[in-house]
Amino acid sequence: MTPASSNPLTFQELILRLQTFWAQRGCVLQQPYDVEVGAGTMAPETFLRVLGPRPYKVAYVQPSRRPADGRYGENPNRLFKHLQLQVILKPPPENVQELYLESLGAIGIDLRQHDLKFEEDNWEAPTLSAWGVGWQVMLDGLEITQFTYFQQCGGVDLNPISAELTYGLERIAAFLQDVDSIYDIVWARDPETGHPVKYGDVRLADELQFSVYNFESADVEKTWRHFELCEAECRTLLEEYAARAKDRHPPATDGHTGSEPFNKARFPLLAAYDLCLKCSHYFNILDARGAISVTERVGVIARVRALAVGIAKAWVDQQTSESGTPDEPALPREQKQKKKSAKPELTPAAT
């Protein structure tokens, strides 16, 4: 065994080092989002933060659930739920690539001993109507990071652009510790006894039971109902927002009498987004369960996309209106008009 570095980091040390590194470079350290997502990109700290004009820097670990990728804990390289460390730099600094390379140094990778390549890889998420341009970062033949310059999100052209760095934490840890199975990664080591707690100890039951649930026992009919309930509520919220934003003095649905000005900042678009995320997750379960037929599949993706696009559009409006959040000054009118209209992206049917 030749570990990639002497005295390799444990899984949790890896996370701590990366978080410290990015905190020292001005990132807000967020905590994992508590609604199921398929990728760190879907957490509101990315999906919503990259929209609109406000600069932002954030780093967070995000557990990402992909029901169809589950392997009952039997495959050493595949997981139903894996952890990503997500960094958003809005706008990206000039030296964003160099910063990224420095972060590798911070986790004990001496680049002079390794082979590093930035290979073209353009990211696209049809359910979010989002895409970006960038690379997969290859270290000794292993993809360790997805590096993306976001161009569009929720069908909205981004300005400014955000850089997204997504570190595949299990892969990097397995590389550093030179183990062939994710389950053999040392997650933590007792400082007194040196006794290791492995990834398998922490997560194996998770993988097994959720694979059983997602592939075998999820109740298709109830999952559909969950999906539809979330979708309906999300849509209602979006319709209400659109109606009230258009008419500045409407009779509010919440019992208030009319002629009260619409306080956009109070409107729960964040809750609408949670509902959209839940739809996406239920869709993934139904998909893994084999419950979505040919004719439905494309249609269901389009339904989730419609929610995401609607939220993105409303969010930008909310962020750029005069009644924006109290601590943010309203933007000059001119800038508001420059706002790009939403252009839902059409993706070809899977063939």
């Binding site: 082979d115 930035f118 033949g141 652009i161 062939d180 494309v298 070809p348 049917a349 063939t351």
Partner: protein, 715 residues
């Protein structure tokens, strides 16, 4: 004369885009220098790596040459009053940059005018380049652009630095917020970031070399050398040449080297196709083989660094490959738990195209179409084994539901073939039949390009054609016809493949008829309601395949474009026949008789067209009694006999003989045009002569439309 250097420094440019962008930048700058009268005295050299597009122009003038021209000013009448220059004269002199006393006079038809010799100073090269290069840089075509700092310009990846120099002087160029300087950047890891460039020309290349950045040619050379050296450590081994892969790794590195890695020989039980795909497509490794061409448990990885003294990089790459192969083996084993036959039903859940249904639907259509194709071939004496084609068509798409194809989509078809080979498809099937089925499935995506081989067996060929014809028919029926650069389903490539298979297997099939039958697979379905009408379908399919066949005749068979046009004007539906006619036509075309015949046919066509435009109709048929001149009598008398002979040869597909027969008419036709005037006033005589020409064209244009043949300007 100073040397010019431009370097556009970038974050990593996608490997596949570098070569053409570099070429384009060179053309753009060359054209700019030309346009601006700054001719390059030496050569222009490109220097591109993943992080830069650069070019060096050897010796350009420091400035444009001055230009002197005579300009005309105000009339003398206006310019002088009482012998004294007026303000108009002064203004003109000032504008021309001369003293009033130096003004000259010219006499024009309108009177006497002032004139002056004006010398326009040439602008400096530096100024012109600074002004124009931004346009040329931003004009480069990229398949995919991006923003990184709106609202500035778009580029392929963020542009980070610029070097623009004339000898050792910086050009004051600014592009997209980046000011050009004299500092470049070296290799990301092996060098410090700022590399001063002492001057344009070789010193630039030397500076980069010492910063671990090599030119494309040097990199390719170094990679080949490294691959050879690593391979030599295994006696008798060879690395598999792979030019696309080589181009990719050349454009992924600035300072390449290579390492030899190995994998557990037990993975060699997996099919070679799978192993090579993992290595080449996923990991960009070169495969190695022994003297017999058998795959070795080794690989070569190209690195973007100088070496791997501790073997860490090799170790890491071996680890990744092991995981990939383990996955592949896991998929292979999992897939065997469900046979291809048992997978058919799952195809109902795999969309082929949203309006055209699932792959299950497609499978049924393709089976039906393959039966029809087999029947057509049978009538022409070709035997397609029904037991093979039926089963192969049924299983062709079943591998789409396998884990292995989901992971390695590029192996669709191939995986199906491999599985059919190892699975007991049907206990009653003889081994040989099963292997034929497997081969047909394995080959049915072939040919994937004009260079790729066609399926090995007749059944494979039929399946390949049937599968593609079904796709094209469905898409055209929906009106989704490729246009310009838009061809998302690669229908052109698929049609090219059909033409190639028919041509190389010499299959007696008619394209339009086949496509109409493919469309009829949708009869009475819901989908049919979305279809364009029958005649529009047929028209667009015919035009489409005619273009594909023309492409094949020109680009694959290397026929002249006019030969292709002439042949396809007669008929474009029977590929094999069109090829035979084109071959014959290309052979007889250089003869003098034939050249003359072509000219005459053009003339006949022109006369008929002009007559028709003037409302002058030909007679219903040639009336022998109405023929007056001996030349027209002889010609008319000869037609039936010649036509019969041509038809005989045509029926026997002896096109060369048929064409020679037509060429024999030359003296008669020449004599006719020499002695006979067609467009005479006598309506009866004229109509009769026009009918004669029409008969000639009709009878003798069945092999090719000779009027399409380009002759030496004597139409």
């Amino acid at each position: 004369m100073p040397d010019f250097l431009l370097e556009v420094g970038c974050e990593e440019i996608p490997a596949r885009m570098i070569d053409s962008a570099s070429q384009e930048l060179r053309q753009r700058v060359a054209a700019l220098l030309d346009r601006e009268r700054l001719p390059v005295s030496g050569t222009i050299t490109q220097f591109d790596t993943p992080r830069r597009l650069a070019l060096l122009a050897q010796g350009i003038p420091p400035a444009q040459p001055d230009v002197t021209e005579q300009v005309t000013g105000p009339s003398v009448q206006v310019a002088y009053k009482d012998g004294q220059p007026t303000p108009a004269a002064h203004a003109f002199a000032k504008k021309a940059g001369v003293d009033v006393s130096q003004l000259e006079r010219v006499t024009t038809p309108k009177g006497e005018y002032l004139s002056a010799k004006v010398t326009k100073k040439g602008r400096s090269a530096s100024e012109i380049l600074a002004e124009n290069l931004p346009k040329e840089i931003s004009g480069i075509y990229w398949p995919k652009n991006m923003y990184w700092r709106k609202p500035n310009e778009r580029f392929v990846r963020p542009l980070r630095w610029l070097v623009a120099m004339l000898d050792d002087e910086a050009i004051p160029l600014e592009f997209d917020g980046v000011r050009a300087g004299t500092a470049s950047r070296g290799h990301r890891i092996l060098s410090s970031s700022d590399i001063p460039v002492p001057r344009a020309g070789t010193p630039y290349i030397d500076a980069l070399r010492s910063a671990h950045v090599l030119s494309r040619a040097e990199r390719e050379h170094q990679i080949r050398k490294a691959l050879d050296a690593a391979t030599r450590t295994i006696p008798g081994a060879r690395w598999r040449e792979d030019n696309p892969l080589l181009d990719t790794v050349v454009n992924l590195t600035e300072f390449p080297s290579a390492i030899l890695g190995s994998f557990d020989p037990q993975f060699l039980i997996l099919p070679e196709e799978v192993l090579v795909t993992v290595m080449r497509d996923h990991q960009k490794y070169f495969a190695l083989e022994d003297a017999q061409g058998k795959l070795l448990p080794n690989f070569l990885a190209v690195l973007n660094t100088a070496d791997d003294p501790q073997g860490l990089i090799r170790h890491g790459n071996e680890r990744v490959l092991r995981a990939r192969f383990n996955d592949a083996r896991f998929f292979w084993e999992t897939d065997q738990k469900k046979s291809l036959l048992d997978r058919l039903d799952s195809l109902r859940h795999v969309t082929f195209q949203k309006d055209l249904g699932s792959y299950y639907d497609k499978t049924q259509r393709v089976q039906r179409l393959c039966s029809w194709l087999s029947e057509q071939l049978k009538q022409n004496g070709l035997t397609v084994r029904p037991g093979v084609i039926h089963k192969a068509a049924c299983l062709a798409k079943a591998d789409l539901t396998t884990e292995l194809v989901k992971e390695f989509t590029e192996l669709q078809g191939i995986v199906g073939g491999l599985y059919a080979r190892v699975q007991q498809l049907d206990a009653s099937l003889p081994e040989a039949t099963r292997m034929s089925i497997a081969d047909a499935v394995y080959d049915h995506y072939k040919p994937e390009s004009t260079e790729d081989a066609v399926p090995r067996s007749l059944e494979g060929a039929v399946l390949s054609i049937g599968d593609k014809a079904d796709t094209i028919a469905g898409m055209f029926a929906l009106g989704m016809v490729p246009s310009g650069s838009k061809d998302p389903f690669a229908l052109r490539r698929q049609a090219n493949a059909i033409v190639k298979v028919i041509a190389e297997k010499k299959l007696p099939l008619r394209l339009t008829e086949m496509m109409r039958d493919a469309r009829s697979g949708y009869r009475n379905s819901e989908t049919e309601k979305k279809f364009v009408n029958d005649s529009d379908f047929t028209a667009s399919i015919t035009t489409f395949f005619r273009e594909r066949l023309a492409f094949y005749l020109r680009d694959v068979c290397r026929h002249a474009y006019d030969v292709a046009n002439a042949v396809l004007a007669a008929d474009s539906d029977d590929v094999v026949d069109a090829l035979a006619r084109a071959g014959a036509l290309a052979k007889v075309r250089p003869s003098a008789d034939f050249e003359a015949i072509s000219i005459s046919f053009k003339r006949m066509k022109n006369i008929l067209r002009q007559a028709s435009e003037a409302g002058k109709k030909p007679a219903e048929a040639v009336d022998a009694a109405a023929l007056a001149e001996p030349a027209e009598k002889t010609l008319a008398a000869q037609i039936p006999q010649a036509a019969a002979a041509v038809e005989r040869f045509r029926q026997a597909r002896n096109y060369e003989a048929a064409l020679l027969e037509i060429a024999k008419l030359r003296p008669l036709i020449d004599a006719f045009f020499d002695k006979v005037m067609v467009m005479v006033d006598d309506e009866r005589v004229r109509a009769n002569r026009l009918a004669l020409l029409q008969t000639l064209l009709k009878e003798f244009s069945t092999i090719a439309d000779f009027s399409e043949i380009v002759t030496e300007g004597k139409a």
